[in-house]
């Protein structure tokens, strides 16, 4: 048991370099022209052997056109009781490839580049986004290809798959079920999401989910909380 605990402790820094937290936001493939958004995203991961981890992302984004949007994030990740500080920056570009409803699936791509502040580690990610409506259900899938390099880490390529099935019950409350698969993680769980209109052109989107690890390598429990103010 102690051996596994020691291995787990050794893996934590490695996970920190690779971010190590697979559960994250699932992107739809759409860009809303003129939209500016401020986003606060929290991922809280709990595991008796691996230890706990928390990732907070604060983002500001703006749509450059009806096809392209840019978002900049400051990211703070901490493990167990470490001091929380901003330890990475990320620039994200979203590209809507097809008009919603034109084809059997709607398509988009997200490009991300992230740089660790103290670690000199770089990470670039491309995500293919697909979405389709099935009556009041909406299915979304994100397939990611991640390349990481820098001092102290071996260059590596990882793949990630995230998927969501969401029931459009009402604008303010939409239950969903999500699946997250990536490095050392296979997690499933329910999500609630919704939207509140504050005034014309101003909206607040929220999302909360709980995920359970489906194998021994996966974190036992992960919480996802996301709030976006759009104007």
């Amino acid at each position: 048991m102690n051996r596994y605990l020691a291995i787990g402790m050794l893996l934590v820094p490695a996970a920190a370099c690779a971010d190590g937290i697979v559960v994250d936001r699932i992107y739809d493939p759409y860009v809303e022209a003129l939209e500016t958004e401020i986003e606060l995203r929290s991922i809280l991961q709990y595991d008796d052997e691996l230890g706990d981890a928390q990732k907070y992302s604060f983002g500001v984004g703006h749509a450059l056109s009806d096809r392209w949007a840019l978002e900049f994030y400051a990211i703070g990740t901490r493990f167990d009781n470490e001091h929380l500080s901003i330890n990475a920056y990320e620039l994200e570009a979203k590209w809507q490839l097809t008009e919603q409803g034109e084809f059997a699936f709607d398509w988009g791509v997200v490009f991300e580049i992230e740089r660790g502040i103290d670690t000199q580690i770089w990470e670039v990610t491309s995500r293919l986004l697909a979405s389709r409506d099935f009556g009041r259900w909406t299915g979304i899938a994100n397939l990611g290809l991640v390349y990481e390099w820098g001092s102290g880490v071996e260059d590596e390529i990882e793949t990630e798959l995230r998927a969501q099935a969401r029931y459009r019950l009402s604008e303010s409350l939409q239950p969903a079920f999500e699946f997250h698969l990536g490095q050392d993680t296979l997690a499933l769980g329910p999500v609630l999401t919704g939207l509140y209109r504050l005034s014309p052109g101003r909206k607040l989107r929220w999302e909360a989910g709980v995920f359970l690890g489906m194998d021994d390598e996966s974190p036992d429990r992960t919480l996802k909380l996301n709030v976006e103010y759009e104007f």
Binding site: A33, E35, D66, Q100, G101, E171
Partner: protein
Amino acid sequence: MLKSDSRPGARCWLISIALGLAVAAHAATPEFEIEIRNHLFEPDVLVIPAHTKVKLIVFNRDPTPEEFESFELNREKVIMGGSKAIIFIGPLPPGEYPFFGEFNPATALGRIVVQDDGDAG
């Protein structure tokens, strides 16, 4: 098994068939038009056929942008002032699907009425 020198011909046929199907699919998509004028949708009621994908062309005649929005249709689309946007809707079962202008929700209101073939005008 096809020889390698026969594949370009087969590929050409497959591409032609695929393109033909894509063009046919687009050609068969019925088109409807709506205008935004003085922050009102004209017409404010649009009847479309059930179980059919339609192409909605929204012309914004106002100088300011407007956003066509509908939770029921699962559509959000900004139309810049003095321009147009294309919104694909459906296939949908019969029913009424309200929409509104996100930037002028008090006045820019409308609904899509989906009717079975023969009832749609």
